[in-house]
């Protein structure tokens, strides 16, 4: 059912365009899958008639071992990223917005073709994704301020509670909203100092790989964001049960056949991994609307509260 017709904008007359190899992003590098596998990605069908699927690319099909390598890279990056000043993290997130803006046309093409949007809608989605980085960049040095407390204990003690990143977060990014949704789950996880392993939309992974290139040319340290394109249902269970993953976001289980979020939560229970459940009621997982202002819930989901006591006295 594949066809070699490129859905990308036609190159200048007579020129054979140079196509990109879509690889993983682990520890700041762009490896192929250790498994040597790839899978075909197609453009979203346009219109109601059953047109032939349009081939876009062979994307690296990440494996269990790739995911484990990504967790190792994320763990290695925790110290530096969580230890960076909040001001610094804010600037780094803002820098991502800058780089995305300068690569804007790439992202517009990605979502136009991948999600089947009109050019105007694609522009709006990319604008929202860029603005989301700016929104979260501003939170970097404010989240602790609005979530910390000085606790007036009944005794001569100084006592404060403040948030700290939980560590390595596995993010199952949304299947439908392949750029705005992706940014909307990555930004709140890393702004507080976590590092992450992201499984992007299985059928629409190209924005994630282009985002990886934006991250690599921003000031995001290698390992802070690791992106493993893959079949979500194949790799997610390994992340859910991984002992060195501190938290897992199950948003991307919505719309994936053969992947019940409850099964992943069950696996996560074995190491008391924090779980952010997908939206929806009961066992149904529903992809939430990412165009709304996010609120703080996603940042709250991946922080720990540390309380420190010290006596007061002469």
């Amino acid at each position: 059912m594949s066809t070699s017709t490129s859905a990308r904008r036609a190159p200048a007359a007579g020129r054979v365009d140079v196509r990109k190899t879509y690889k993983l992003y682990i520890g700041g590098a762009f490896p192929r899958s250790e498994s040597g596998r790839s899978y075909e990605v197609y453009a979203a069908p346009r219109g109601s008639r059953g047109s032939t699927p349009v081939f876009l690319a062979n994307v690296a099909k990440g494996s269990r071992k790739d995911a484990r390598n990504a967790v190792a890279a994320a763990r290695k990056a925790v110290g530096g990223w969580s230890g960076a000043t909040a001001y610094n993290r804010g600037q780094v997130l803002y820098r991502i917005a800058e780089v995305m803006e300068s690569r804007r046309s790439t992202f517009v093409e990605d979502v136009r073709i991948g999600e089947g949007l009109t050019p105007a809608r694609a522009e709006a989605v990319v604008s929202a994704a860029i603005d989301r980085w700016v929104w979260y960049a501003g939170w970097a040095d404010k989240f602790a301020q609005v979530t910390s407390t000085v606790n007036p204990v009944a005794g001569p003690f100084f006592n404060i509670s403040a948030p700290e990143p939980t560590g390595v977060v596995a993010l199952l990014a949304p299947q439908e909203s392949s750029l705005l949704g992706l940014v909307s789950v990555v930004a709140p996880a890393i702004v507080t100092g976590n590092t992450c392993v992201v499984l992007p939309s299985r059928q629409r992974p190209l924005p994630a790989v282009d985002l990886a290139e934006a991250l690599a040319t921003s000031d995001v340290p290698g390992g802070v964001v690791n992106i493993v394109t893959c079949h979500t249902a194949e790799v997610a269970p390994w992340l859910a049960s991984h002992r060195d993953v501190n938290a897992i976001d199950l948003t991307g289980t919505a719309g994936v056949e053969d992947l019940a979020w409850g099964e992943l939560e069950l696996a996560a229970a074995e190491s008391v991994t924090r779980v952010l459940r997908p939206a929806g009621r009961g066992p149904a997982a529903v992809e939430e609307d990412f165009t709304a202002e996010p609120g703080t819930a996603r940042m709250q989901a991946f922080v720990e509260t540390k309380t420190v006591w010290h006596p007061k006295g002469l």
Binding site: T166, E265, L266, A279, Q300, T307, W309
Partner: protein, 482 residues
């Protein structure tokens, strides 16, 4: 120096009136079980049977949850926050009024020294209700998010180490935020929870807002797994916590888990040693070491290790082990035979693995469950006594040379509940506090608790916080929740 003998100074039991048997507190009154059995609760200090208690059946759990649901929809969720708060203030006051009764009953049923139940457990429990009472009509100001709303019916399962205090930690925030409760106390320590049921009656708390069902593991499982429970709050072992997390996986039930710990108490060479030794003793021998945040691993800087060890042993020679009701007792009885067996087994493993065991000379009563305060030196990180939670009066001593090594050793555990730092250097305290992966860090103090101070762990010590503004978050859902 002359030594003075202590005369016995027992607190009177006359203040407590224990019934010979207890039913289940469901919908505001004590009722008989439907198809459940009974079990006995004993004094661990004497093995005397204190009372016969009901083992709630699955049908009983059903009834209790139904009562809580009715009370939630018809009464409690419709009541103003101010009125909810007034009920909690009443409860706080009644706990204060009946403080001695609760303290004696707690020491009898749990085995902990009366000076601890009297000075820590009961007053802190009352304080918890008083603190949360004031939140009930101020939740919009708590910064929890827009429109904070209760979950509904909360199922709560608590441990035996601080029976009344853990009840207060669970019930006070649940009620303040507008939830109703079904609570199961631990099977070895049900009596203060049953006395608390009488407090609810005295306070005229609407029927069904608080339901107390006694029983063991199966009762707890039935409660946690009940379809009509919206949120689960559990304090106890990491093993049971994981089982609960599995039970609720794939449901929309919320949970907070407050699990085990293996805290490092880190002493630097510039620490104020007299205070540090007191902190080490308090850290591990408070409540017979039956404390999830106990400072069970002493990490002492190598240059002062001998000195600290000598001072520690000298201090431990003065600890008084014995009758929990004696006002001079420092260390009481181990809560149960099963726990005593576990402590004994792990201590034997410590010896077998090559650590050096020491205990002060002290006479132990002939009946009941007792364990001498015990210190292991020469402990290495791989020893079971350095890895596993003993939950008893057993201290493992390890050494370190640099702050970095201290951090690495302290964090080398699946747990992350608490930690202690002893040093006079302020910048080192703050650096260490940043590095330690633990929910509570005590610097130049240890084992301090307060209703305003959030408590809870990292990693396998659980999730969610109890106490303070952060503790409220676990009992509400807000407009911006995903």
């Amino acid at each position: 120096m002359p030594t003075f003998e202590y005369a016995p100074a027992p607190e009177s039991r006359a203040v407590v009136d224990i019934a010979s048997s207890y039913g289940l507190f469901i919908n505001g009154e004590f009722t008989d079980s439907q198809g459940g059995g009974t079990f006995k609760t004993i004094s661990p200090a004497t093995e005397e049977v204190l009372a016969e208690v009901t083992e709630a059946s699955a049908e009983d759990v059903d009834r209790a949850v139904a009562a809580a649901r009715t009370a939630y929809t018809r009464v409690w969720s419709r009541m103003s926050g101010a009125d909810r708060g007034k009920y909690l203030f009443r409860i706080a006051r009644i706990l204060q009024e009946r403080a001695r009764e609760f303290a004696v009953l707690e020491s009898l049923d749990n085995g902990k020294p009366i000076k601890e139940s009297r000075d820590v457990d009961v007053p802190t429990a009352a304080a918890h209700f008083f603190y949360h009472a004031g939140w009930a009509d101020k939740l919009d100001y708590a910064g929890l998010g827009p429109d904070p709303r209760p979950h509904g019916v909360v199922g709560q399962v608590i441990p035996w180490n601080f029976p009344l205090l853990m009840l207060a930690w669970k019930i006070a925030p649940a009620l303040a935020t507008g939830n109703t409760v079904v609570l199961k106390p631990a099977e070895t320590t049900p009596l203060t929870a049953l006395l608390f049921a009488q407090v609810c009656q005295q306070a005229d708390l609407p029927a069904g807002v608080v339901n107390i069902i006694t029983g063991a593991g199966p009762t707890g499982q039935a409660l946690v797994g009940h379809e009509d429970v919206d949120k689960v709050a559990f304090t106890g072992s990491t093993g049971v916590g994981k089982a609960i997390a599995r039970t609720i996986a794939g449901t929309r039930k919320k949970a907070t888990l407050e699990l085990g710990g293996k805290a490092a108490n880190i002493v630097f060479d510039d620490a104020p040693l007299d205070q540090a030794v007191e902190g080490i003793v308090n850290g591990i021998f408070f409540n017979q070491g039956h404390v999830c945040c106990a400072g069970s691993r002493l990490l002492v800087q190598e240059s002062i290790a001998d000195q600290v060890e000598a001072r520690l042993k000298r201090r431990l020679e003065t600890l008084r082990v014995g009758d929990p009701l004696d006002k001079n007792t420092d260390v009481g009885a181990i809560n149960s035979r099963a726990q005593l067996d576990r402590i004994t087994e792990l201590s034997e493993a410590g010896e077998a693995e090559g650590a050096t065991r020491w205990s002060p000379e002290c006479e132990l009563p002939s009946k009941g469950f007792w364990f001498r305060p015990t210190v292991f030196t020469g402990v290495s990180q791989t020893h079971r006594i350095a890895q596993e939670e003993i939950f008893g009066p057993v201290l493992s001593v390890l050494t370190f040379r640099t702050p970095g090594e201290a951090v690495a050793k302290a964090n080398n555990t699946p747990y992350g509940l608490s930690a202690g730092i002893w040093t006079e250097k302020g910048s080192r305290i703050l650096w260490m506090a940043d590095q330690l992966r633990a929910g509570v860090v005590w610097a130049n103090t240890f084992n301090k608790f307060d209703p305003t101070s959030p408590f809870g762990g990292y990693k396998e010590s659980g999730y969610g916080r109890e106490g303070g503004r952060h503790g409220l978050a676990a009992y509400v859902t807000t407009g911006d929740a995903t």
